[in-house]
């Protein structure tokens, strides 16, 4: 799996990137919040879309990347269309403009800055730690999953003779190795004074 899916654009030096998080956050979430209000004229979300595209250009984020990310929500949108939502055009433009502003925020903000922001607004330490570990070990685990799939294929794993037991064993081996690693990490944390535990 390729590492750093989003952060690849987060370290540029555009005006947007350099905005402090305390300004960028409220500024980019404002259109998303406005879109969630019950209004049905499409002019406002359309303006948001145009504004976001200009800001993407200023930030140097390729529109091809933006389009790919936006297209990811289409399966969900198709399911929602079955509900026959009213004011479809306004609904669609609101969704699109909200997605674009969220993407603008996330692609111009390094993950580390987000974590710092979380600490500053007083998110409890447990959640900060879990977010940090979740990020840190995600890449390790997906590499392990790739290796497990590769090993399965080399040993003759064949999708035509696919068995759920094979995939389950892969998942289990990743899980067991992870828990073993967790034990070791627990020792590391004790030595580094995470919680002032005594034996």
């Amino acid at each position: 799996m390729k590492h750093s899916p989003v952060d690849r654009f987060a370290y540029k030096k555009s005006l947007i990137h350099l905005l402090p998080l305390s300004i960028k956050g409220p500024l980019f979430f404002l259109p998303i919040i406005v879109n969630s209000l019950p209004f049905n004229f499409y002019f406002l979300p359309l303006c948001f879309i145009i504004l976001s595209l200009i800001l993407f250009k200023v930030a140097g984020i390729p529109l091809k990347f933006v389009l790919k990310r936006v297209l990811m929500v289409f399966p969900f949108l198709v399911l929602v269309l079955f509900m026959a939502p009213p004011h479809k055009l306004t609904f669609f433009l609101k969704i699109l403009s909200s997605l674009l502003f969220l993407l603008l925020f996330l692609t111009t903000t390094p993950f580390l800055s987000l974590m710092r922001g979380m600490e500053r607004i007083g998110i409890p330490r447990l959640f900060i730690l879990l977010t940090a570990f979740g990020y840190r070990y995600f890449f390790l685990l997906t590499d392990e999953a790739e290796r497990a799939v590769r090993a399965w294929r080399i040993k003759g794993g064949d999708l035509k003779k696919f068995r759920f037991a094979d995939v389950s064993r892969m998942v289990l081996s990743i899980f067991l190795r992870s828990m073993k690693r967790a034990e070791r990490i627990g020792n590391v944390m004790r030595m580094r004074g995470l919680y002032e535990e005594n034996n």
């Binding site: 580390l112 840190r136 990490i185 020792n187 590391v188 944390m189 004790r190 580094r192 034996n199």
Partner: protein
């Protein structure tokens, strides 16, 4: 020389097994660099964990005058910088400075101070400018160095390294040697790399099946091929 580690009758067996260490006794003087050698499963890591208090072993351990007991694990922990075998276990924070500075952040020290200290220790291990790098993007050798930096940032008296040269290429081993020499602390190194241990240590301990079969100045151990052969070093 002052005794900085005193171990007497140290024993630990993993629950439900006969594997562990038995009746280990030794002292380490300030400034010593002790290499612990032995075959796989001889008890090297078990011994290191028991000396630090990560395993509740029977027997007596005194670290820099503090007896290891159920109540004062933290006091002992402060004296030790432990570099674990797998750097992916030790490097649990996503960014280098978060990980290296972790022990100091835990004490509530201000970020500016911690960052300054992080820079100092990163420079000591030859990783100047690595503060903002992401842990998962580092090479194996770089991870090892970051782990060492993280282990010494709180200025411990003793540095313990478990299999530090595992998976390192020759250049990595040379760099590691220089780093440990440069740090200059009382050091315990467990491993299989006899050449490395020969270059860095002044004393060697030999373990076999959980028991200590020799502990002496390295010249005496290395002059004794029968002991080395017993534990698989031809």
């Amino acid at each position: 020389m002052k005794k900085i580690i005193e171990v007497d009758s140290l024993s630990y067996f993993y629950p439900g097994t006969e594997k562990g260490i038995e009746d280990i006794k030794f002292d380490v003087e300030e400034g010593d660099v002790v290499g612990i050698i032995g075959a796989n499963g001889s008890g090297k890591t078990t011994l290191l964990f028991s000396v630090c208090g990560l395993l509740k072993a029977r027997g007596k351990v005194v670290i820099d005058g503090i007896p290891l007991s159920a109540r004062n694990f933290n006091g002992v922990r402060e004296k030790i910088g432990f570099v674990f075998q797998d750097p992916d276990d030790q490097l649990f924070m996503p960014v280098v400075f978060q990980d290296v500075g972790f022990t100091l952040f835990q004490k509530g020290l201000p970020e500016d101070f911690v960052l300054e200290r992080v820079r100092e220790v990163l420079k000591m291990v030859g990783l100047e400018g690595f503060e903002e790098r992401e842990s998962h993007k580092l090479s194996y050798g770089e991870k090892k160095k970051v782990c060492i930096a993280g282990a010494i940032i709180h200025e411990p008296k003793i540095l313990i390294l478990d299999e530090p040269t595992a998976w390192l290429d020759p250049r990595g081993r040379r760099e590691l040697l220089e780093i440990i020499k440069g740090i200059g602390k009382t050091t315990i190194i467990a491993g299989h790399d006899l050449e490395f241990i020969d270059k860095i240590s002044n004393k060697i301990m030999v373990l076999e099946n959980g028991r200590m079969i020799a502990f002496s100045h390295k010249e005496e151990i290395l002059k004794n091929p029968s002991i080395l052969k017993r534990v698989g070093f031809e």
